[in-house]
């Protein structure tokens, strides 16, 4: 996805002049983003965007504001906006990370989000940018999704990245749930099945 996709998806916002002004001002004066960022939902709406599945208008607006920053300011502003943001602003920063020229500088924000118990933030941290998470942190985050009921569909590259260690962790959780007379979410059970298929044992225990 590119900034142009965001722009296209936002063509029908209620206040296009506000958005155009914000983008212009931020490009010229990066610190101005702190004023525009919190108001995005009030100015551009919060509905799901039909052209951009998984994104709401406020999230896409905030991502577009971030992409309009001069490149050398992006990492610093993204972190500052996340730290000063409410849950919706934080979630928007996390979702924007893969579109921004920040390298791995946003990883501490992912760690912060995954530490919370706010499932919106945990989910937003596991998009394509999560490729920067090391395997141990990524597996713990996936397991946390299962534990807190976040659908695994939010996890980017799930099957490509899921390994034997994750399978063992899921199997252990499944065993605990079975012992307690509880069930695993269907998507997690299916993932465990895929990971253990063909291994000739109920679950794989090697890293």
């Amino acid at each position: 996805m590119t900034p142009d996709d965001l722009r296209t998806a936002l063509r029908d916002v209620p206040d296009p002049d506000w958005l155009a002004t914000a983008l212009r001002r931020i490009a010229a004066e990066p610190a101005a983003i702190a004023r525009f960022f919190p108001a995005a939902g009030r100015r551009c709406g919060r509905a799901d965007l039909p052209d951009l599945p998984g994104w709401t208008a406020d999230e896409a607006t905030r991502a577009l504001l971030l992409t309009s920053l001069p490149a050398e300011h992006v990492a610093g502003q993204a972190e500052a906006l996340y730290r000063a943001g409410d849950a919706a602003e934080r979630s928007a920063v996390l979702k924007a990370l893969p579109l921004l020229p920040v390298g791995a500088a946003g990883v501490p924000l992912l760690h912060d989000a995954i530490r919370t118990n706010d499932t919106r933030l945990v989910a937003a941290a596991l998009g394509p940018y999560a490729r920067h998470l090391d395997p141990a942190a990524w597996r713990q985050a996936v397991l946390k999704c299962v534990f807190t009921g976040v659908p695994l569909a939010v996890v980017a590259d799930l099957d490509a990245r899921a390994d034997g260690t994750l399978a063992a962790m899921l199997a252990a959780l499944a065993a605990e749930r079975t012992a307690a007379g509880r069930t695993m979410p269907a998507d997690a059970a299916a993932l465990l099945d895929r990971l253990t298929a063909g291994t000739g044992q109920p679950h794989h225990r090697e890293a």
Binding site: A34, R35, P38, A39, G41, R42, R46, A84, D86, A87, A88, R90, T116, N117, D118, T119, R120
Partner: protein, 283 residues
Amino acid sequence: MRIFDPHIHMTSRTTDDYERMAAAGVRAVVEPAFWLGQPRTSVDSFVDYFDSLIGWEPFRAGQFGVRHHATVALNPKEANDPRCRPVLDLLPRYLEKDGVVAVGEIGYDSMTPEEDEVFAAQLALALAHDLPALVHTPHRDKARGVERTLAVVAESGIAPGRVVLDHLNEVTVELVRDTGCWLGFSIYPETKMSPPRMVELLKRYGTERMLVNSAADWGRSDPLLTRATGEAMLLAGFDADDVDRVLWRNPVEFYGRSGRLDLRDVDAPESTFAGNSILRGGS
């Protein structure tokens, strides 16, 4: 009965309370920033507190279909501690957030010169950020405190219709009734107001600009006393529309003046069939 509790400190309540409140018909709350029992000693404690009011707490409320908004301010009690005074510099950032629908709680605790300064400064912030103001009235020396509060509000230039004076009672209601300010009443198990006393005030003064809250916090309080007040109103001869006005439409009108109240999916009039709410325990 759809209920909007315009003043409740959910940070101090358990998740079980949210569940019971939702089952009783509470669909929306406003959580004013206040003190926490234990005085804070640094600005950073306020940052974490305010972040919780616009982050974790709305999430927790949302688990039960309850919509959560907040008001943010340096409270009167901690306004007296110089270590907390720089909180005023933090406020502009929070007063731009979607979930913040007023400046509050501001006002007086002991009516010190420090409280005077901080109260006036925060009324100015309400004007600058185009937000209503939630004003706490002092528990001691209350009548004199209310008079002084009204003078400061008038001097600030904020429109009276954008101000609520809270924790009023039989003694202070008349001081406020004709000022154009909104009147807040906190229903408590023992102190402040009770449901029967509240009903008497509604009979005498009508339902216009009247707000009823539980002000439930870490003290002896009960988040279901809004509902109990609605039931007491019905028993006293008020009709369902009167109850809806006091417990839903009035707080919606007052906090709606922020332009930020978001009640999508929770504001439908209650559907009933043969007197049974089909929404009971739902959204």
